[in-house]
Amino acid sequence: MSLAKTLVIGIILTCASFLASAADRGRIAFVSDRSGSSQIYTMNPDGTDQLQVTDLAPADGAVGPVISPDGRQILFTKFSSEGVDLYAINVDGTGLRAITEDHQSFFGHWSPDQAKIAFTTASSLGPAVIAEMEADGSGERKILTSDLWESVAPLYTPNGKQIVFQSQMGGLVSAVWIMNRDGSHQRRLTAPALKGAASAISPDGKHILLMNNLNSPAALSNENFVMNLNGTGLKPLAPLQRFHHDLYATYSPDGSKISFVSDRFSNDITDFTYGTFDIVTMDANGGNVVNVLSGAGLCPNDGNCVTPSWGPSEQ
């Protein structure tokens, strides 16, 4: 093969690779009750190529899927009559396995190196606490928050040095907190009246996506907000004048887009109820709100919706 030919093929291959990479916008994992029970699905960010990942027994269900940093696995909370446990499954639906078996662990998050999982579990006193364990559930659990107040839903910062979480510490209905990964230096980032809870951290580690009115009746709207990692610069993400619920915003792997769930397009919503939830995408800098999946599911009274996770495609 001549050098010229090799170069041409090389350029073509490079271009093809570049194009493929540009087309790879990742996958969105979500929960839908379309089958009659809560199962995990994945789809392209434009709503195409939907795949059902879990096939849990109809009496059981899944919530809170999180795609692993390498795009190959999904961590989720499985609920059953026995309680709640963390499970992992390969994105192709194979390899379902229990990470916890205590029936009281839920809402986990992969560490950036995928070696650990931060999660929520019941303390002996009662209130849920944030803990960290090996990604396969083995070894000792390290408890990171006080067992006197409820703390849930940890999120690692992209550099793995801090954990953002939701807590009732100090007697609040809900607030966003941040701490070092070892549990030290805990501080509150949001004002009590916001009743905030974080749902994602930007890939560059600079911003937190959060929602308001947690632990509140459906008769209060929910909105998504963005703020700096230190709690400053709070601003609404996609404001809407009428009554609605926007929840669980999450970033695309490159941070340029945001996905969240919303009943803003629902025609069965009233001023006192959740409507049907759709999965929506938008630009991270605001605007261009697109409904990519209508009727993903409904939302229960406690605000647990279809919880999207936007991760990389399988590597």
Binding site: A122, L148, D302
Partner: protein
């Protein structure tokens, strides 16, 4: 089909503290008898625990939330009966005579009434189902059941409970759950419902306040720091100088408290959460010299007040409750009056 999952904040929030709450205003006077609830019924006793008298003998449902009139001649309470166990306001004489229904509005659950300092009317907490929630707001009503009016607005996310007038009638203390993003705190407002302000810090988890007879201080229960335990504390009406007057010693869950009419003592309920044994104690106003004056047994009488309290503390799932709560379900709610 809806997801009927209860996760986040609530799946295991089921086990967060359940706070049980009193309502009372102690008016100045000579220390008299103490009213309390045991099982389904209301009793009174001398301040040393002697001469216990049963005032009600309810066969249908039970009674809760007792409070004395300023002159010690009457007692107001809530009665709960099947099928909905919504509270109804009842009045009776100090000896249990002349028990009569004060107010019945089907569909409303009336709780935790207490008297105005001039004895002319009551303030109470009215709760009602609203789109899957059960908000409670403060109302007032005449002693003949007339002239009902609203003091705090109904908001779906709020539970306002246990209003108590200051002895001078200018101010109302009450518990508010969910207000301004705070799980629960004692609040104050002007008697016309204006100028609502938080009195106790959020982290104290304060509830169940009672004014000292001179109106300068309030005694309240604080659920700070341990879901199973609770202490009695005293705070100045300006919110300064909180001092704890009981020591949970790692085992005691304090319940309701009430100031003596002379201002020299406090009566409170506490329970050893490890043994389940509980009783009514009297101590000096600073908490010293606490003495058990009566052991009280728990009750299993259905009580809508407890449902409201569970709701107000985001206990969305039934779970095992702390021992102190199980005992508190039975009441006690000691109230110190001037009746001799």
């Amino acid at each position: 089909m809806r997801f009927r999952v209860c996760l986040s904040y609530c799946i295991l929030a089921a086990v967060i503290a359940l706070i049980t709450v009193p309502a009372h205003a102690t008016f100045p006077g000579k220390n008299g008898r103490i009213a309390f609830v045991q099982g389904p019924d209301i009793y009174t006793m001398n301040q040393d625990g002697s001469n216990v008298r049963q005032l009600t003998a309810l066969t249908d449902g039970g009674a809760f939330w007792v409070n004395w009139s300023p002159d010690g001649k009457q007692i107001v309470f809530s009665r709960f009966a099947a099928p909905d166990f919504f509270g109804q306001l009842w009045l009776m004489n100090a000896d249990g005579g002349n028990q009569h229904l004060l107010l019945t509005d089907p569909g409303f659950d009336d709780e935790a009434a207490s008297f105005s300092p001039d004895g002319s009317h009551l303030i109470f907490s009215r709760c009602a189902p609203l789109d899957g929630e059960f908000p409670c707001a403060i109302y007032r009503v005449g002693l003949d059941g007339s002239g009902i009016s609203q003091v705090t607005p109904v908001r779906i996310e709020l539970t306002d409970l246990e209003p108590v007038y200051s002895p001078d009638g200018s101010t109302i203390a009450f518990d508010s759950f969910g207000r301004d993003g705070i799980l629960g705190a004692v609040h104050l407002m002007n008697s016309d419902g204006t100028n609502i302000r938080q009195l106790t810090l959020a982290q104290l988890g304060g509830y169940g306040s009672d004014w000292s007879p001179d109106g300068e201080q309030l005694v309240f229960t604080t659920k700070c720091c341990n879901p199973e335990l609770a202490n009695i504390a005293v705070i100045r009406r300006d919110g300064k100088q909180v001092r704890q007057v009981t020591d949970d010693k790692g085992v005691f869950g304090a319940g309701r408290s009430s100031w003596s009419p002379q201002g020299d003592a406090i009566v409170f309920r506490t329970t050893n959460v490890t043994t389940g044994e509980g009783g009514i104690y009297v101590s000096n106003a600073d908490g010293s010299n606490a003495k058990l004056i009566l052991k009280v047994r728990p009750s299993t009488v259905p009580n809508n007040a407890l449902k409201i309290l569970k709701k107000s503390h985001f206990l969305k799932n039934k779970h095992e409750l702390p021992a102190s709560t199980q005992i508190e379900d039975g009441g006690a709610l000691p109230r110190w009056g001037t009746a001799q």
